[in-house]
């Protein structure tokens, strides 16, 4: 049976939603609403790719495309959207036999690759994959460069176990937070402004800028209100720190916020309270994005999480490799 590629249209979004629900590779980032907001605020054009085997949908691949001067670029996810990963999602992957897993994934990747490079004539494509998709062989066979990244995941079915296993200094910080009268509040999307401002101040202090637009963040939180929680740590009436968490299936993911504050205790207190809240509300896993950088990995591992490996894949034309190198030098050394 042959494989076909189609682009899902607005009036077919229910089909997209159904596939998102049926694949273990998806996150909240794959939802139609989020993808459309990313399209609106980044200026990239969204191609919601659907792969069919005969009549049967076997997978999706949301790809964002933009022509920037002479360069044609494609991403999944696009930059400055805070989407930690996106990439392809195979329907019912876990129940397939290995030969079919490989066959479906290989065909999804091959057809998307053909669409991106032959039809869109892209010269640079970068895709960060779901941690549930660890088999990157189809990308290797198509000449992609593979980069390894890491996330943390923690079983929070029992908050008591989490408390017992966390680093002693984190436990002490939390106790000190309680002693100092810190409070924990679950807020609505309106309070995301505060988290954004704290993040912006922190970035500015480090000589960096927040790529994500506040407007976009507010709209994501508003549109996906049922799946997004804002957690704030306060002392009296003063907000100290906050985090935005994404709730998807049985997992709660710490998304943005938790920027370094003037006191040592508020972030540990807030994270712990968020874990406690999630555990009480039936979530089984707590996810933290980005455990590959040494300093951050050490900081984030204080709650004793498990390591999850994931990959990003890249393919580009030779002139784009040169352009990318120049961009990196500019960003790292010249701060442009």
């Amino acid at each position: 049976m042959s494989f076909d590629l189609v682009i899902v249209k607005e009036d077919e979004k229910d089909l997209w939603k159904e596939i998102v629900a049926r694949s273990l590779h998806t996150h909240l980032f794959h939802t139609w609403e989020w993808l459309k907001l990313a399209e609106k605020y980044t200026g990239f054009k969204l191609y919601p790719i659907l792969i069919l085997k005969g009549e049967e949908p076997i997978g999706i691949y949301p790809v964002f495309f933009k022509k920037k001067k002479i360069f044609k670029l494609a991403f999944s996810p696009p930059p400055y959207t805070g989407m930690s990963y996106l990439g392809p999602a195979v329907v019912g992957y876990e129940s397939l036999k290995e030969i079919k897993k490989l066959d479906y994934l290989h065909n999804i990747v091959k057809m998307a690759d053909n669409f991106i490079f032959s039809e869109l004539k892209v010269s640079y494509f970068l895709s960060s994959l779901s941690p549930k998709l660890i088999d990157v062989r189809p990308y290797k066979w198509l000449g992609y460069e593979i980069n390894t990244a890491f996330h943390y995941i923690m079983d929070i079915s029992s908050a008591d176990e989490v408390w017992k296993n966390m680093k002693k200094s984190a436990r002490e910080n939390i106790k000190k937070g309680i002693k100092k009268g810190y409070s924990f509040e679950v807020k609505g999307y309106e309070d995301v402004d505060f988290i954004y401002q704290v993040l912006k101040e922190r970035y500015t202090a480090q000589g960096r800028r927040v790529g994500m637009k506040l407007e976009y963040l507010k709209n994501v939180c508003k549109k996906l209100n049922n799946n997004i929680k804002i957690f704030i740590c306060k002392k009296g009436d003063i907000c100290l720190t906050g985090i935005v968490a994404l709730c998807f299936r049985n997992k709660i993911s710490f998304w943005i916020g938790g920027a370094k504050t003037n006191d040592t205790y508020s972030n540990d207190f807030l994270h712990w309270k968020a874990i406690e809240w999630a555990s009480k509300n039936g979530f089984k896993y707590y996810e933290e994005f980005g455990a590959g950088t040494e300093r951050l990995a050490r900081f984030k591992s204080k709650f004793n999480p498990e390591l999850v490996v994931c990959f990003s894949v890249k393919k580009c034309k030779p002139h784009m490799k040169l352009a990318e190198s120049i961009y990196r030098v500019g960003r790292n050394y010249l701060k442009i």
Binding site: E98, I134, D135, R137, T148, E306
Partner: protein, 339 residues
């Protein structure tokens, strides 16, 4: 608590110390054993340095490295041309959490850097870790560039019926048909291993690739003498007494490894390798092994697809590469080529 200082030593001839450490660690493989390392040294003519890192009095980890001097110094674990895909670092010490493991691993790597620097100067280093070493971030943090590779594993703790029904329908039919056509599996000896070796060499010639002289004959014979029959099993597929396919299996702790073999057979309607793999799985399960590894699910798409028919799970292992000393400046531009 103060961290224990890490001290790296080269094990001279104490094979007992080495093998005890390898057996004690849950990351040790048959390729790490003393006798195997010595066979690799002889085959590759790369000098073996069996490194042991001590944290205080206790062994933290071991790392066998092979050094080849060809103008530049090349440090490998494992070296090329030894029919091995991975080897690498084996930790003995157990850690209660990731933080403690990373900290010790990091400390070891810094000491390894010093060791390599003072003994070999500027060099090319390639460490290919076994799938049992999962957190390779400390290697990245000290400048290695890492690439994922794959191997296949079948969980032998599942019942045989489930393993069989997991096979692709085509393979199940192939096995039934092959058996019906008079093919059978025997546990062979050197003669059968040698035939498999010749078949593999012929296959390379048919693909237009010139295999090395005698295609690993002496190496395999050396390994056969050391590891057969205890850790090496030859699953030979035969028809009327003639070997037409099969593989060399290795046993170590709770793993059975399908190491080399399964040469492509151009016989119509008969699939000796499919039958050999199935018999190998049954044998390994009966003997109490927990995992059946079909080694290398890598860069050859056709071979990967063939192995996938047995419904194994892909397992990741990592290759880590870096240039040291004055060569360090080439790490970034050559990153992709050097993997």
């Amino acid at each position: 608590m103060k961290k224990a200082r890490i001290n790296i030593e080269v094990v001279k001839n104490d094979s007992e110390l080495w093998d005890t450490a390898i057996k004690r660690s849950n990351q040790g493989t048959v390729f790490h054993t003393w006798k195997w390392l010595r066979c690799v040294e002889k085959q590759t003519r790369a000098k073996l340095y069996p490194l042991v890192a001590y944290a205080g009095e206790e062994i933290l980890c071991t790392l066998p490295i092979f050094v080849r001097r060809k103008g530049l110094n090349f440090v490998y674990s494992p070296p090329p041309k030894a029919l091995l895909i991975y080897m690498g670092i084996v930790f003995l010490k157990e850690f209660s959490n990731l933080r403690k493991f990373e900290s010790a691993f990091n400390e070891f790597l810094l000491n390894l850097n010093d060791f390599l620097d003072s003994n070999f100067g500027s060099c090319f280093v390639r460490i290919r870790s076994s799938p049992l070493l999962r957190d390779i971030r400390p290697l990245m943090w000290v400048g290695y560039s890492v690439t994922p590779h794959y191997t296949f594993r079948i969980n032998l703790q599942n019942d045989l019926e489930r393993i069989w029904s997991g096979f692709d329908k085509k393979v199940r039919n192939n096995i039934r048909k092959t058996e019906k056509d008079g093919c059978y599996i025997e546990l062979g000896s050197w003669d059968e291993l040698n035939i498999l070796r010749e078949m593999l060499a012929e296959r390379f010639i048919a693909q237009g690739i010139k295999p090395n002289k005698d295609y690993y004959r002496d190496y395999l014979l050396g390994l056969f003498k050391e590891f057969y029959p205890e850790n090496m099993k030859i699953f030979a597929a035969k028809v009327d007494g003639e070997t037409i396919g099969g593989f060399v299996g290795l046993t170590f702790k709770d793993r059975f490894l399908l190491w080399i073999g399964i040469p492509r057979v151009e016989l119509k309607g008969i699939y000796p390798n499919d039958l050999a793999i199935w018999e190998g799985i049954k044998w390994a399960k009966e003997k109490g092994y927990k995992h059946f590894e079909i080694m290398d699910a890598g860069d050859d798409a056709r071979l990967s697809r063939y192995k996938s028919q047995f419904n194994p799970e892909p397992e990741i292992w990592f290759s880590s590469v870096k240039l040291t000393g004055f060569l360090r400046i080439l790490n970034a531009p050559l990153r992709k080529i050097l993997r």
